[in-house]
Amino acid sequence: MTDSAMSVDPRGNDSEALLERFRARDEAALADLYDLMGARAYGLAFRVLRDGSAAEDVVQNAFATLWEQADRLDAGRGSIQGLLLTIVHRRAIDAARTRQRALARSGTLEVDPPDGGPTPAEAVAATEEAQERSREVRAALEVLPDTQRQVVMLAYFEGMSQQDIASSLDVPLGTVKSRLRLAMQRLRYEFSTAETETALDQAATSSVDADVDAAEGSDPGEGSGTAEDGAAHA
């Protein structure tokens, strides 16, 4: 599971602990997961649906799904936070497409997003961690050609199928398929590279810390080296 979906809260609810508590049917785990992820899950559903009521239903359904399937959760298949967001996204797309088809059948064109959603004032101020996660994704997206980035955004946040996108952009279906496939391959590479760099940075930082600790714990006469010295030695 990516770091983006991993969170550790002050009560020690890291992903694995939370998942184990779900498996143990610890009802307090439901509240903890909601407190940890509720705003992200609701924000994602709302971003796709732009309808507060529908977003609520989607999030509730996703939590219910996790709870019902708690005994099948497997830490090896990702964090519970990631599973939650994946289910939320899937359900949100289902709801968005259902709504679009209903509107199409009734001959109504959806001009404005439905009412009932949060106002900008209700948006949670992004934490530094959230901002960093968002920055990483934006950086990866910026690597993509505009045409590929457009397809990614239409698919993920507008819930459009490849066929819908082709019709909307008036390009051949095969072109949309190619753009999306290439975009995903590039994003996979970019995310993987970023994770590797992060891991290397963390390893370097740990090494520096270890050297500093070692220096501080050694004979004062030998402890004149700096952290940078330690890193260089490492």
């Binding site: 509720g38 399937q69 797309i93 993920y156 459009m160 066929q163």
Partner: protein, 259 residues
């Protein structure tokens, strides 16, 4: 069971599947393939890529009532609220329901106030389904299939019907190129021990016929059945029955969809 496409073709669709960019027909195909084929570990990796995009969505404070709804989940969900249905024929005629296309539901006035009559006599088995419902299959057995999304462009369903209300949804597709009907239900809640969801099919002018018990996984159940002709006018409904099923429906449908 749906006929699987080649693994290479499934692999080709996985990135779009993870993004939710496949159409319903191909999504069902990928779901069903992943359940029975363990050669697609990449599906998880593509899902991880898609998941990263969720970080672009701003966090939004949900209404307080949502927390209450979620904390109430373990105490046992209420009996699922039915989609709004309109009885065409009163008792003792067979079940025939019409499902409004638009998802307009009122939880106060749906199933409870719209009882579906239970025919007193044994329902006959529609000839078209005589040997067909043996193929009833629950496809959502794999966790990956529940978590990831997908679909494609070829094999467009010839007929599509759906109904959504109060968090329950039913979607039915007839895929002419494969002569198969696929019915998918979402939002099904856990049932008390001794109860189970049962699927019923009713052809136009016919009686409700059991299409088997639904196995619910992650609130979803998927059934497929071979069917040669476009099932125009057919209704698929789900009721809560004693474990093991009933010969005829003994409760109101919790959700139904009509082609």
């Amino acid at each position: 069971m749906l006929e699987h496409r080649d693994c290479a073709e499934i692999d080709e669709m996985l990135p779009a599947y993870a993004m939710g960019a496949l159409d319903d027909a191909d999504r069902v195909r990928v779901d069903s393939h992943l359940v029975s084929c363990d050669r697609h570990e990449d599906a998880f990796a593509w899902g991880e890529v898609a998941l990263r995009l969720a970080d672009l969505a701003p966090e939004v404070t949900p209404p307080e009532v949502l927390r209450e709804r979620i904390l109430a989940i373990p105490s046992g969900p209420p009996v699922p609220v039915a989609a709004p249905v309109e009885i065409v024929e009163p008792a003792p005629e067979p079940i025939r329901v019409e499902v409004p296309p638009a998802p307009v539901a009122d939880s106060e006035t749906s199933a409870a106030s719209l009882p579906i009559p239970v025919p007193a006599r044994q329902h006959r088995l529609p000839y078209a389904l005589a040997a067909v419902f043996a193929a009833l299959t629950v496809l959502f057995g794999a966790w990956t299939a529940i978590l990831l999304t997908g679909g494609g462009e070829e094999g467009e369903p010839m007929l599509v019907a759906e109904n959504v209300a109060d968090g329950l949804s039913a979607k039915a597709m007839f895929m002419a190129d494969e002569s198969v009907i696929v019915v998918k239900f979402d939002g099904l809640t856990s049932l008390p021990e001794g109860s189970a969801y049962q699927l019923w099919a009713t052809e136009p002018g016919g009686d409700a016929t059991s299409a088997g018990m639904l196995e619910v996984t992650g609130g979803s159940a998927l059934a497929s059945m071979e069917h040669a002709d476009p099932p125009e006018g057919w209704t698929f409904a789900v009721t809560i029955e004693p474990a093991g099923g009933s010969a005829t429906p003994t409760n109101d449908p919790v959700v139904a969809v009509t082609f």
